[in-house]
Symmetry: C2
Subunit: 349 residues, 2 copies
């Protein structure tokens, strides 16, 4: 209860009431239903027409499927998401031999979310046997058995799967990384746009877009407020020729109070175009040290900062294009991997 | 057939015979069985006592479970791997309502591998109806239906799951990366061991081991042959103070003809300890350029090369330890992520 209370406070949820769980799935669900029936000791909750039951281990539930089960529940009393079976289901004998094999085409996996007319599912739980309460796993079954309500079955998307094994955690992490890598916001200084730098910016933007991500432009950080409020987790910040961080610092300040970084790390790539002639090593090291210090500081706010240096010589256009292409490839790698261990690094294209 | 022939040639498999597949699962399996019954036009294969049937979409099958199903098949005529059900299985009516919900505790998912006495499964397929051949999904069912052989069910590990959706590909990739990141081989120059560098090497080794990976030492590349022949996909190569690549080049040459890189990319991290005083930028850039060129070259052999520079000043022990710690953290990030886009980069601790 403490952990959940802390989570609710942290993410500022307003419409959540916690109810203590039971020892089994059905006992826990019944506790929730009782609270909605007006049985909760601390708060008087209104009793809903339709109630949704969902598993926390199915984190990728979209509004669309919720709407479909709720609508179906309203019409038919009960509804649940289903998926095709991936493996054949069999029933074993008590001594471990094949007893019967079920026709895969005639069966489905019952998934969540499920929705019920409150009255139906509450009556079902009130009549539920001790055996059902202890060993049962299926709410649709209770509605059928105790209220003779045949649930309407709704085809759900594959992402509704139940995160069960270690491999499911891996899959979940990759799905999230995939999802938050689709949009990149490029912030740049337009004062330089007329010259060579403008050309480089254009080139870089084109390379990033080719990789299948949507790229939004924020000249001088304008429009950043709109992007920030959205779902963008990736910022590429182009700084001027000298190795300063002016634009990046401004961006990091702007990101300071953003909500998204609460959920997932926000990636900021500070890009520096540098003339490869006559740059001293000491200067380069100083820039790197600043980058590392910055990176350490913003990591506390769940922002991962990386640097990318794109070298160019004014007289070699082909080399420059190749370097920009490499820079884009490095940037997309950084955004895709979101490696905590590589924050503060200055990579060179 | 061409693709499979190319794969067999590439990985030098000696005991594989290809048989053309059918339009359905059962037709394909029957083709394979016919070939083993001596029906194959090109080669006369010996008919086995026991035959194993497996899905290519379950790549993580271990010898242990194969032995168990084969042994059980020898004793009982048929055997197959099973797993507990993750979701409840239901049967829908034709108009999409819940008809019946199965008791999850009394059912299992039937997985692969399965094994059979050749005689049992071949007879079953010979008698198989057209309907079974077209719509059936379960070999154990055929052995039961046509030969009255009740398969022995063997509990399989979770990694036997069927790679079906995009998320399963993600999971698969992470499982492989996890598996090949467990062992790191550190190659170093022992001539320097007496001095400060020896101390640094020891420190680095300790840091890497802490991360839960096993670390093998190869002074001067000795014993590398043993490691190479094993399952090691990660090499950390420590070079001497000046920024040359002597040790790394020797290692890369040694890896030239290794088999593992055929399957998965081999990671080589070239570590350079560098005194932070008086190193010129131009020298640094030269080293980086060499690293990039090397990386490009060895990438063709499926070797990912990265550089890590660990700075130290002789008089600041605390700073040095911190930098070595950071170096270890960067190295483990590189090995864990195996990013193709970051090869050739020189990262700085």
């Amino acid at each position: 209860m403490e952990t959940m209370t802390a989570i609710i406070r942290r993410y500022q949820h307003q419409r959540v009431t916690l109810v203590e769980a039971g020892a089994t799935r059905h006992q826990s669900i019944f506790s929730g239903l009782k609270a909605l029936a007006g049985d909760h000791p601390h708060s008087k909750l209104p009793t809903p027409t339709v109630v949704i039951i969902h598993d926390a281990v199915r984190p990728f539930v979209e509004e669309d499927v919720l709407v479909r089960v709720v609508t179906a529940a309203k019409d038919h009393g009960a509804a649940g998401a289903i998926r095709p079976l991936v493996s054949t289901v069999i029933s074993p004998s008590t001594d471990g031999y094949l007893e019967q094999s079920l026709d895969r085409a005639k069966h489905r996996a019952s998934e969540m979310p499920q929705a019920f007319l409150f009255d139906v599912i509450y009556r079902a739980y009130c009549q539920c046997s001790d055996h059902d309460m202890e060993f049962g796993t299926e709410c649709l079954h209770l509605a059928l058995k105790y209220c003779h309500t045949k649930a309407k079955l709704v085809e759900g998307p594959p992402d509704l799967w139940k995160v069960t094994y270690r491999r499911d955690l891996y899959a979940m992490e990759s799905i999230i990384k995939d999802k938050i890598s689709q949009q990149i916001c490029v912030v740049m200084d337009t004062e330089e746009e007329a010259g060579c730098l403008g050309f480089l910016q254009g080139l870089l933007q084109k390379e990033l877009e080719v990789k299948g991500t949507s790229v939004a432009l924020c000249p001088n950080g304008q429009g950043l407020q709109n992007v920030s409020l959205g779902e963008c987790y990736n910022f590429v910040c182009i700084n001027t020729m000298n190795a300063d961080f002016h634009q990046t610092v401004k961006l990091l300040d702007g990101l300071g109070s953003r909500a998204p970084s609460l959920f997932y790390p926000v990636t900021v790539v500070s890009v520096h175009f540098l003339d490869s002639q006559n740059v001293l090593f000491s200067e380069r090291m100083k820039a790197l040290m600043e980058m590392k210090d910055f990176a350490k500081e913003v990591k506390n706010r769940n922002v991962f900062l990386y640097g990318v240096l794109i070298y160019f010589t004014q007289d070699n256009l082909q080399q420059l294009q190749e370097n920009v292409r490499q820079g884009a490839s490095i940037i997309t790698s950084l955004i895709k991997d979101r490696s905590a261990g590589l924050t503060g690094q200055l990579l060179i294209a």
